[in-house]
């Protein structure tokens, strides 16, 4: 995860962190011209969301525009919509070796995401699928960063809040709150954030 984005989230002073705030941070970093988020009629049993990053020339002979389009299923809870958005935003900052942009890579990624993880395959496609899965952890870290985590642990220890209350404040699916509050989480995030991302972000 790029250092500049992490630095911005270290300074978070209130919750919940809105998706639009995350988007603004990414655009401020300067790695993307436009980030559009569309909520569409997508069967969440098949596909909950996706990121489509492309470049095009909106005006003939004009400048090329870099666009990130995130599409999210409308048939999910608000918390799940937020998490899917955050996870896909992580991919906006993918480094070159993490990006999926050839026909073979696209189809290979779909195959790997739907199939069982192999312990013997170390191909680029496997790496992209692994990065895709790790993005969920990073997405959670964007919505529930360290400062918010510290606050949650304090509230829980003091008996002022329960897990459900924390989820309600952070606005993430409740089933992930305990995982983020696990004592292993900071070390996991440290390791994940070291994985290749754009050096200029």
């Amino acid at each position: 995860m790029p250092k500049r984005l992490l630095e911005k989230l270290k300074a978070v002073e209130s919750l919940p962190i809105e998706i639009t705030e995350l988007r603004d941070h990414i655009i401020e970093i300067g790695v993307q011209d436009r980030i559009i988020i569309c909520i569409e009629d997508m069967d969440p049993r098949i596909l909950r969301g996706m990121l489509y990053q492309y470049s095009h020339r909106p005006i003939l002979y004009g400048e090329i525009e870099q666009v990130s389009l995130i599409v999210v299923s409308e048939h999910m809870s608000p918390e799940w919509k937020r998490l899917v958005c955050a996870k896909e935003m992580v991919h906006i900052l993918d480094g070159p070796s993490e990006q999926t942009n050839t026909p073979e890579d696209v189809m290979g990624l779909i195959e790997k995401l739907l199939g069982p993880l192999s312990t013997e395959d170390v191909s680029h496609t496997d790496y992209m699928a692994l990065v895709d899965r790790i993005a969920l952890y990073k997405g959670l870290a964007l919505l529930f960063p360290d400062r918010a985590r510290d606050w949650a642990l304090t509230e829980l220890s003091a008996g002022r809040k329960e897990i459900g209350d924390i989820a309600s404040v952070v606005k993430i699916p409740e089933e992930f709150v305990s995982d983020v509050l696990d004592e292993a989480w900071p070390d996991m995030m440290k390791a994940f954030f070291e994985i290749n991302s754009r050096a200029d972000a």
Partner: protein, 67 residues
Amino acid sequence: MSGREVLRSFLFDEGKELKNIKFFPGTGRGITQDQMAFEAAKALKKAFSNGLIDSPPETGVDKINLA
């Protein structure tokens, strides 16, 4: 056309250069590659035909200070 062919056609034949694509698979069991690819293509086409209406989810709640 299979779902994968529909997605491939959308991503590579329509005048835009693909930089990166990622997926968040669904909750169902036994989802096939063609099903997921078709759903992805369908959603993308719908988003474009609707004019790429930007509608990020907003909580609408008052913020709580962490201080």
